[in-house]
């Protein structure tokens, strides 16, 4: 096996991990803070890419394209939120409905094509994989680290504000939140919007990085996002107590995920089997806290009743 080949692939994996890390931070907001499993992200990831690609190709400024992707992603989160809070549909199903609908919308955005190429020679892009091994300020790894840091700082600030605290309370205990005068329905909407906005933003960066937007680029995104959240918690859960560090752990989790993928591919795994491997690994990690609880219950003689 050619080690050089692996080393050559690592910077690309790191950049991909950083982009998916932004997406995973979005998943963290719903899954961990709001306590909602939101499957909208599989759709809104592709939406972000589609919007950015089409806008950039029509001559739009790259920053503006990213901003529009963020806003459209928020709209997708709003739809899921309204399905859930206003129409009373269970959260998981609400997300699946939006995700399904978004597939058609994404095709419409891309003019009926499943794949749209954004040539980095023709357009100015924020990140591109062709610069991933260059030692310049245009290296996507450098740009993405700055981007991630800015995002984490902004979220750290937001979740420390009165509004952000009320969002955390909504996820922690809805009855308590309402008793303290918090509009929990509105907060669920807000959290879903923020999360999907970030996911679409990540999709917009991914489309630029890869040089194309694809209607299927979000397939299984939720699982990758969860993987990043869980890997981050497994490695840093005990040390990273501060909220900002927890978000950093999510981003690192996504990088680790892509580095590991790169290694298993290098070891000879068929790329087609990747999603199966990911699903298995994530399901095992999701089971760990449950098993741990059961074991602890056995030892003290008190069974946990959430089985």
């Amino acid at each position: 096996m050619d080690l050089l080949k692996l080393f050559n692939a690592l910077p690309g994996a790191a950049a991909q991990g950083l982009i998916w890390g932004l997406m995973a931070i979005g998943v963290y907001i719903t899954y961990r803070i709001l306590d909602v499993a939101d499957l909208t992200v599989d759709g809104s990831m592709a939406t972000g890419g589609a919007i950015a690609a089409v806008l950039i190709m029509s001559g739009c400024n790259v920053w503006l394209a990213i901003l529009v992707a963020f806003i459209v992603g928020m709209a997708a989160g709003l739809v899921t939120g309204l399905f859930h809070t206003f129409m009373g549909i269970p959260a998981i199903l609400s997300g699946i409905l939006t995700q399904l609908g978004l597939y058609s919308i994404n095709l419409r955005i891309m003019g009926g094509k499943a794949n749209v190429a954004v040539n980095p020679n023709k357009y100015t892009l924020l990140v591109s994989l062709r610069n991933v091994r260059s030692l310049t300020l245009g290296n996507p790894i450098f740009v993405l680290i700055l981007f991630t840091a800015a995002l984490i700082l902004t979220l750290y600030w937001f979740f420390g504000t009165e509004l952000g605290c009320s969002l955390r309370a909504t996820g922690a205990n809805q009855r308590m939140a309402r008793a303290q005068g918090i509009n929990t329905s509105r907060n669920v909407l807000l959290g879903l919007m923020l999360s999907n906005g970030l996911v679409a933003l990540s999709g917009a960066l991914l489309a630029q990085y890869q040089g194309f937007a694809d209607v299927n680029s979000g397939r299984g995104a939720i699982v990758i996002g969860l993987a990043a959240v869980i890997i981050g918690e497994v490695f840093f859960g005990k040390v990273f107590i501060n909220f900002g560090l927890k978000l950093t752990a999510v981003s690192i989790g996504a990088i680790v995920y892509y580095l590991v993928i790169q290694v298993v591919l290098w070891l000879g795994l068929n790329a087609n089997d990747l999603k199966l491997l990911t699903a298995l690994v994530v399901s095992i990690f999701l089971a760990v806290p449950f098993w741990r609880g059961k074991l602890a219950g056995k030892r003290t003689g008190k069974g946990e009743n959430h089985a």
């Binding site: 952000g164 605290c165 955390r168 205990n173 008793a179 929990t184």
Partner: protein, 264 residues
């Protein structure tokens, strides 16, 4: 301070699980009233409290708190007028947030929540002093997650949070029922102290007849969705358990049957 006029509530109407929880409840509390609410299982005590809190809309009647008609206000808006402590110690606090964050949430009850900091250093000082009055040592654990506290500590904290912004009405829904007797007595002692110090109007549901008689200036007893006994003033002060059971039998036309009641 509280005016409940002819409210009624039926859960799951027209189905096999239909439950007429409140038939026709009429209650007027004066400012500073501390009412204990007692009654058998399914009498409607908690339903009445939840109707006031806005957990569900009522089918009929109106509810006014401090002169404001809140009948059509959602739960989170009514919270501006209410302090609430629940039976389950898990319900009143956010377990994954720390003590000071929980208090900061309570301090902002009824206020718009914007992009100012969710907690300030000035507040922390005030929280420390407030926690100190509980005598549970919580003032030294302000950065601890509430999930680490015992049931009694959580109820005491919830009580403090419910009264951090003086509520027009304090609703206590069997808030000592899940605690061991010693802790229950301590939480009850804190309750009485806070209510008298802040001159609160309060309504306390309890299964403990002794507590219902000993605490507060007024006692109401519910049966099958109605208030059947209402004693206050001197009569309440002299009230004995036998009196209460006699009053109940006269009003309800049957013997008091709450097993949980008689045991306590």
């Amino acid at each position: 301070m509280l005016k409940i006029s002819h409210i009624a509530k039926t859960f799951n109407p027209g189905t096999i699980t239909e439950k007429k929880a409140l038939l026709d409840v009429d209650l007027h509390l004066n400012e500073g009233d501390f009412v204990t609410v007692i009654g058998g299982n399914g009498a409607g005590k908690s339903t009445m409290l939840n109707a006031v809190a806005g957990v569900f809309p009522v089918d009929r009647g109106t509810i006014e708190i401090g002169g404001v008609n809140v009948t059509n206000l959602p739960e989170y808006k009514r919270a501006a007028y209410l302090g609430r402590v629940f039976q389950d110690p898990m319900t009143g606090t956010a377990a994954t947030m720390n003590i000071e964050e929980n208090m900061a949430l309570a301090l902002r009850r009824g206020r718009p929540r914007g992009l100012r900091w969710g907690i300030t250093n000035l507040e922390r000082q005030m929280y420390r002093e407030q926690l100190h009055t509980l005598g549970l040592g919580l003032e030294d654990r302000m950065a601890s997650k509430v999930g680490l506290l015992s049931g009694g500590q959580r109820q005491a904290l919830t009580l403090l949070m419910a009264t951090l912004r003086t509520p027009k009405l304090l609703l206590l829904d069997e808030h000592t029922a899940a605690l061991d007797p010693k802790t229950a007595a301590k939480v009850l002692e804190i309750t009485e102290k806070i209510v008298s110090e802040q001159h609160l109007t309060a309504m306390m549901v309890t299964h403990n007849m002794k507590d219902a008689i000993a605490i507060g200036n007024r006692l109401i007893m519910m049966n099958e969705g109605r208030i059947v006994v209402d004693v206050s003033g001197e009569q309440k002060q002299k009230l004995t358990r036998a009196d209460l059971m006699g009053l109940f039998e006269k009003a309800a036309g049957k013997e008091l049957d709450g097993d949980r009641l008689l045991l306590s």
